[in-house]
Point group: C2
DNA sequence: GAGGATATGCGTACGACGTAAGTGTGTCAA
DNA sequence: TTGACACACTTACGTCGTACGCATATCCTC
């Protein structure tokens, strides 16, 4: 009788949050292609059209998914050296991308503007601040951000995507004419048995080293002026 | 009368090649979402189902699109120094990705195995050979390939994708609480007016410098042994 | 309580999509 | 001429996102 004591109904009230969570669950367990309005609705025990009371359309739902995931980024702390902090931040970002393998596809497929909520901007702010503390000029901070972000996302894409499988299939299957692709044949065995983590660190080192050299060059420039 | 002289009919015969070309045309002009069997069929003046005489299914068509585009990669030549060759190759790869803005999405969305035709493997072979000539160990050749490939693809993704728009919208629109994101606010003006080419070169330099340092370190290591 | 306003879930329907299956028509070999 | 074959077309099914309208549950005002 008391309307405030019992739930509004037997079932729990649907909220935008619950819809987004369901979408993430479906995406991570069954892939982005399975994230349909009908499937997500089933996940929360509702019909497809009911979702539209909480999201404007499917793009809005996907936007919400992006923001929620971005907000789950784990910031590294406890590192004094910016190099260590940069590496930890990069690993954390990679971990997030790996935890949601279709996130990059989602980024690529979203039609509307990318999320600009405070939550999803915090990782950007963190990275920028870090590069600034490393001693880069503001202009180079932006460029370093692009370079790092690009590398990490690109690497994870190549790692998780089809590139690796292609080469496993192609190389292990040995369908390639060796004489036409001698280098490919020579190094192919490194593809399968290379530790992905190690590969990631390799590129990370490359970028850090380059950045250190840049910082050093800049400081000598400014001394020479 | 002579059967070989005239075409089989008024219209030109449909071929797999023509179908793939039409798909690329549609993709580049109207986006990947518009690449539907019906739309591609219309492009070649035919009904949708007729395409299935030349491609096994839609994935097969997209696979063909990938291979054809990969085969259009322009190899740099005339560079003696591997650094110059690496940069030229990277720029060429970026140019190809820019010429087909939805290619990366296509890579990400393809279900079947990635293309492993000789044509589409030649760029890989080229890059591997280059790194090898730079003096890297076979193991590091593979890793450098991943690092470089990752960087380029990631950069183009961030460049063409929504990231740039997001920041333009968000920064120019100044919707961000400045006190919460001080660094973001401080460097934001560099986002819009930074030359993308310059940004690309920046990251490229980072990777090259890192690689040079790696090569140098390796060679001193081997001397020390 | 009574009754209207609002919020929210459901059912139906439409035009896209990929494609399975069957039908017709042109070309060529015999 | 005739049979086989290649290939384009037609129809149809189950999926998708979602516009539209209806039903009900909750809340506000009297």
């Amino acid at each position: 009788m008391d309307p405030s004591a019992t739930a509004t109904k037997d079932r729990e009230r649907l909220t935008r949050e619950r819809v987004i969570d369901a979408a993430i669950t479906v995406m991570d367990s069954e892939g982005l292609d399975s994230v349909t309005m009908r499937r997500v609705a089933r996940e929360v025990g509702v019909e497809a059209m009911s979702l539209y009371n909480h999201v404007h359309d499917k793009d809005d739902l996907l936007q919400g998914v992006c923001e929620r995931i971005m907000a789950s980024y784990e910031f590294p702390d406890g590192y004094d050296d910016w190099v260590d902090r940069a590496k930890a931040g990069a690993r954390s970002w990679r971990r997030l991308l790996q935890a949601h393998p279709d996130l990059l596809r989602l980024f690529a497929e979203m039609h509307g503007p990318a999320p600009s909520s405070p939550e999803s901007l915090r990782p950007t702010e963190f990275a920028l601040t870090m590069f600034r503390e490393a001693g880069l000029a503001d202009r180079d901070v932006v460029q370093a951000f692009h370079a790092f972000g690009g590398y990490i996302q690109g690497f994870v894409m190549m790692e998780a995507g089809s590139i690796k499988e292609r080469h496993e299939d192609a190389f292990i299957g040995a369908e390639i004419p060796e004489e036409a692709f001698p280098t490919l044949a020579a190094v192919s065995h490194h593809w399968a048995d290379c530790d992905p983590d190690e590969q990631f660190e390799f590129g990370l080192d490359l970028m850090i080293r380059g950045l250190q050299a840049k910082v050093a060059a800049d400081s000598t420039d400014s001394l020479a002026e």
